[in-house]
């Protein structure tokens, strides 16, 4: 792909330095800005990886939690088999997931079992 860059502005190196040497850099930065607390701690949200039981749960757990949380799946509403097949295919074709055709089929079975069309539909 030919993209001719006319200009490069890089903020990465020094920004990383700022994070790595948190106490030192942050305090010099914050003293310039007058802040009192140079180092702040945060706790990132942490959701459990538990998934509801279903056929081929192991295949799902092996392939589907590498890049996104389990919760991202459990918050979805029910979808048809066609939609779930499309979603799994998207993970492989676009997002680079290494899943064999057979494992893809197993994962679709699991998704349909836990998030498939309900009786009333």
């Amino acid at each position: 792909m030919k993209c001719r860059a006319l200009l490069i502005v890089l903020l990465a190196a020094i920004a990383l330095e700022t994070i790595a040497a948190a106490q030192q850099s942050a305090s010099s930065l914050s003293s310039a800005k007058g802040s009192k607390n140079p180092v702040q701690e945060i706790t990132l949200p942490n959701y459990p990886l538990d998934m509801p039981p279903g056929p081929n749960l192991a295949a799902f757990q092996q392939h589907c939690l590498l890049c996104h949380s389990a919760r991202y799946v459990t918050i979805q509403p029910s979808f048809s088999r066609t939609v779930w097949e499309k979603e799994v295919k998207k993970m492989v074709d676009i997002f680079g997931a290494h899943i064999t055709a057979e494992d893809q089929q197993q994962i679709v079975e699991y998704l349909v079992a836990i998030k498939g069309p309900t009786e009333s539909k």
Binding site: L6, L7, I8, V9, L11, L29, K33, P77, F95
Partner: protein, 267 residues
């Protein structure tokens, strides 16, 4: 990367703070997928209610000033942005977006290092992020680390495949007839929600009631709000009335879905 560069720049946080005029503005940050869970039929993706939106004061430097310091050459078409984050798998496209050169140089787009008068928090994109007032936050790249000017459109999954909407005035299409031509999602559409009443809240008849809500547009200034009233027929089954009225386009994953319009709502 090579090319005819006037002055390639490497900027530290300290330089951003001291070498460029600081600018402060208030801008609304809204996810392109906000309110996705209200689509009918439902669509896969982040199942947002109305909460993927936040207003803040942003302080930083104008992207325009940084571009001027570097000296943009004639023929520049777009500016590409990357953050410190990389994809979990090597074959996965990493997140990157581009802005047209005119938008980049309009003086409103900021490289922000402060939010609400404090250093940009980690979860909001520390150390610096892009602020693109009036456009959906897909462009507001967090942990901004690289800015590249191109003379051709940036080829990226997150520009060419994701975040695209039908190319018509309502950005609308049907599942049976998906729009053949799409364009990148950019400026926020009019978006309004009721805070009070809540869905399914019963209002006492014959008494006055104060409506409360929040509305935003993409920066042109909402001229006025209109209210429509739905009268229920006696004996009719009561339907839940969504409190969202929106004419905005989707973010690509909702293509082919009819947007659900509120029976009562603001325009």
């Amino acid at each position: 990367m090579n090319g005819h560069v006037h002055n390639p720049l490497s900027l530290s946080l300290h330089k951003l703070h001291t070498k460029f005029e600081p600018v402060s503005l208030v801008a609304l940050c809204q996810c392109a997928g906000n309110s996705r869970s209200f689509f009918d039929p439902r669509v896969p993706g982040g199942q947002w209610g109305n909460g993927a939106i936040g207003n803040a004061r942003w302080k930083g430097v104008r992207l325009m000033d940084v571009l001027d310091a570097a000296g943009v050459k004639l023929g520049a078409l777009q500016v590409g942005f990357r953050g410190l984050d990389t994809a979990p798998l090597p074959q996965m496209p990493r997140y990157e977006k581009s802005l047209p050169i005119d938008r980049s140089r309009d003086g409103e787009v900021l490289i922000a290092y402060e939010m609400n008068d404090a250093p940009l928090p980690m979860l909001n994109g520390f150390p610096v992020r892009l602020v693109v007032p009036g456009w959906y936050s897909t462009y507001w790249v967090k942990s901004l680390s690289s800015i590249v000017v191109f003379d051709q459109p940036l080829k990226s999954f997150f520009m060419d495949t994701a975040y695209r909407i039908p190319d018509n005035s309502g950005a609308e299409e049907t599942p049976q007839q998906l729009s053949k031509v799409t364009v990148p999602l950019t400026r926020m559409s009019v978006h309004s929600i009721f805070v009070k009443p809540s869905p399914n809240e019963q209002l006492p008849a014959g008494q006055s009631y104060t409506l409360q809500g929040v509305a935003n547009d993409g920066g042109s200034g909402t001229a006025k709000l209109k209210f429509r009233r739905m009268m229920e027929k006696p004996g009719a089954m009561r339907r839940s009335v969504p409190i969202l009225a929106s004419t905005r386009g989707g973010c690509g994953s909702c293509r082919g879905r009819r947007r659900q319009k509120a029976a009562t709502g603001c325009k």
